[in-house]
């Protein structure tokens, strides 16, 4: 089953286009990372999916129901980015209120709320008012709120930004648990190391446009940066290297050559070819790009245009 299916969602605020074209699919049991710099259109995208903001154009389905269907929201959990909850409620009252909004019965709430407080490590704070909570604790209680209804889709907007390393670890474990239960998780984040550890697939968005969608496996295998050092490099060599990969450049000074190739299998062919061309090969080092380098490469190059 598809958890999210967005087709050309677009949002304009007057002249400004906040989201130009949101087209993506998220499967159940998948953790999907939505990455982009601040102001790229991430939050607006999420708000359109959740019916907080109406799209200017395009369609979308959540859990195979069209946007705006209220019953489907009983199966969706959401943690907004900048939030302040009713701070005069205690943690348990807060969860109870949201449980009632989900339409959960008294017995369901009595059963689920202590478990969730325990899950997010706030069992001993059940009767503390939210105004005494730190930012990290608020984020954790907010996460518990998003999990109240045993959701099939959880949308988290920057869930780890206020958390310490222990809290991040906790959120990561919870997300992994959700995936194991077959829940889809849509994660808005700019903390790339977190995304790298949790997500199955990622979409890069900038200036309201999705630039690329790829799986983390693809990221690990593909797009390898190779550093080459040969004796007496020539312009012909640089030109011919373009048949192996993209973005062939040469460092000034030491004359090292850089290029990007798509798979590891190309490496031995590349080495053999250089030697066959009669060059002395001193160095050929593959380097897997981290998500962050990738992010900068994709988002950075596109925004230069």
């Amino acid at each position: 089953m598809k958890a999210i299916e967005a087709n050309g969602l677009r949002k304009e605020f007057g002249e400004k286009v906040a989201v130009a074209d949101l087209t993506l699919e998220v499967q159940t049991g998948e953790v999907f990372g939505f990455l982009g710099p601040n102001g790229a259109g991430k939050t607006t995208s999420v708000k359109m999916l959740l019916g907080l903001t109406s799209p200017t154009a395009g369609t979308a389905r959540l859990l195979e129901r069209p946007l705006g269907d209220r019953r489907v929201r009983a199966k969706i959990g959401f943690l907004p980015e900048h939030f302040r909850f009713h701070e005069w409620l205690t943690a348990a009252e807060f969860l109870d209120f949201h449980g009632r909004l989900y339409g959960m019965s008294t017995s369901q709430r009595r059963q689920v709320i202590p478990d969730l407080l325990h899950l997010v490590g706030l069992a001993d704070r059940a009767h503390t008012k939210l105004k005494a909570f730190s930012k990290g604790m608020l984020q954790r209680i907010g996460l518990a709120q998003a999990l109240l209804n045993d959701p099939k889709l959880v949308i988290l907007d920057e869930p780890t930004s206020g958390l310490d390393p222990i809290g991040r670890r906790l959120v990561r474990d919870i997300i992994n648990g959700l995936r194991d239960e077959g829940t889809a998780v849509f994660l808005n984040s700019h903390l790339l190391s977190e995304v790298e550890k949790t997500c199955d697939r990622v979409a890069f968005i900038n200036q309201g446009k999705i630039l690329r969608i790829m799986s983390l496996d693809e990221l690990e295998q593909g797009n390898i940066q190779v550093r080459i050092r040969v004796g007496q490099p020539t312009p012909t060599l640089l030109e011919n290297l373009k048949q192996f990969g993209q973005h062939v450049t040469q460092e000034k000074g030491n004359g090292r050559i850089h290029l990007y190739i798509q798979s590891e299998e190309q490496l031995p062919h590349l080495a053999t070819w250089i030697i066959q061309q009669g060059y002395t090969l001193y160095e050929l080092t593959p380097h897997h790009l981290s998500l962050e380098e990738h992010f900068l490469q994709i988002v950075g190059t596109e925004s230069e245009d």
């Binding site: 907080l52 209220r70 019953r71 489907v72 929201r73 980015e81 302040r84 009713h86 909004l101």
Partner: protein, 278 residues
């Protein structure tokens, strides 16, 4: 309807938790105590003089009218202050986002909040105005007429202001909304004054200005209607009844208009909030 009631309960709990309810109650009791003491000593004074009963009644009536006007004014201010942040504030803090993404409708949130504040402010009016009336009755034996209907009109006035404030909160910032609500209340007050003086001087233009201001927001006219019901004997003696009194009983059409007014604003609030991008 269940969701509406959940929101109503939360709204009432908020006024408790943020100590608005308790401060309001405590200050209200202080208000009644002050009035009771003042009334007690004034009444001691006038009962020693040999005024006629009708003259004594006028003095008592004046004091009670002034007290009721204070309640009327305080209730209007209170309802604006407690409800002005409710929607615009929750939009600003993003609190509303976790609520509206639940399987509920936006109108349920608007109606639930309205109902919560309506219950609180109605109780406030009943407690303070009823308290004043009780003090006067126990001390001086003066009973007002048409008390339930009159209190109902005072409550209607508060509901009008509440509905305007809730509707404003779906479009305006908290501060702009507060300014609008207070200004409207001020316009109604001033328009009411102009109308009253106009009718004393039989100046038709001034009366028309008053009518227009009552159409803009029929708060002051409902207060006057309530007063006319409470003390029908003052209707024909405008100079005796002082600045807060009425010189003519408002029309039935105006009453119907005033009852439809909060409904229309509430409907606008629902419409406007439902369509709003958050």
């Amino acid at each position: 309807m269940n969701i509406v009631w959940i929101i109503t309960q939360l709204t009432i709990r908020e006024t408790q938790r943020r100590r608005i309810l308790w401060v309001g109650l405590l200050m209200g009791l202080g208000f009644l105590l002050l009035f009771g003491l003042g009334f007690h000593y004034i009444y001691l004074d006038i009962s020693e003089t040999n005024l006629r009963q009708s003259e004594t009644d006028i003095i008592i009536g004046l004091l009670l009218t002034a007290g009721l006007y204070a309640v009327n004014f305080l209730a209007a201010i209170m309802v604006v202050l407690i409800s002005v942040t409710t929607i615009s504030g929750e939009i600003d803090t993003h609190t509303i986002e976790t609520i509206l993404t639940k399987p509920i409708y936006r109108w349920q949130v608007v109606l639930g909040k309205w109902l919560g504040y309506a219950i609180m402010s109605s109780l406030y009016v009943i407690l303070l105005a009823g308290g004043l009336m009780l003090i006067v009755y126990l001390r001086a034996g003066l009973a007002l007429h048409n008390i339930p209907f009159g209190l109902g009109l005072m409550i209607l006035q508060v509901l009008i202001i509440l509905s305007v404030t809730i509707a404003g909160g779906t479009r305006l910032s908290t501060l702009a909304n507060g300014v609008m609500a207070f200004m409207l209340f001020g316009i109604a007050f001033l328009g009411g004054m102009v109308e009253q003086i106009g009718s004393l001087l039989t100046n038709e233009t001034a009366v028309n200005i008053g009518i227009v201001s009552s159409l803009i927001i029929p708060t002051d006219i409902m207060w006057k209607y309530a007063l006319a019901l409470f003390q029908p004997q003052f209707l024909n003696t405008p100079f005796l009844a002082g600045p807060f009194a009425v010189t003519s009983q408002p029309s039935r059409a105006m009453l119907i208009y005033a009852m439809l007014y909060p409904i229309a604003f509430l409907a606008f609030a629902v419409y406007s909030f439902t369509r709003r991008d958050l």
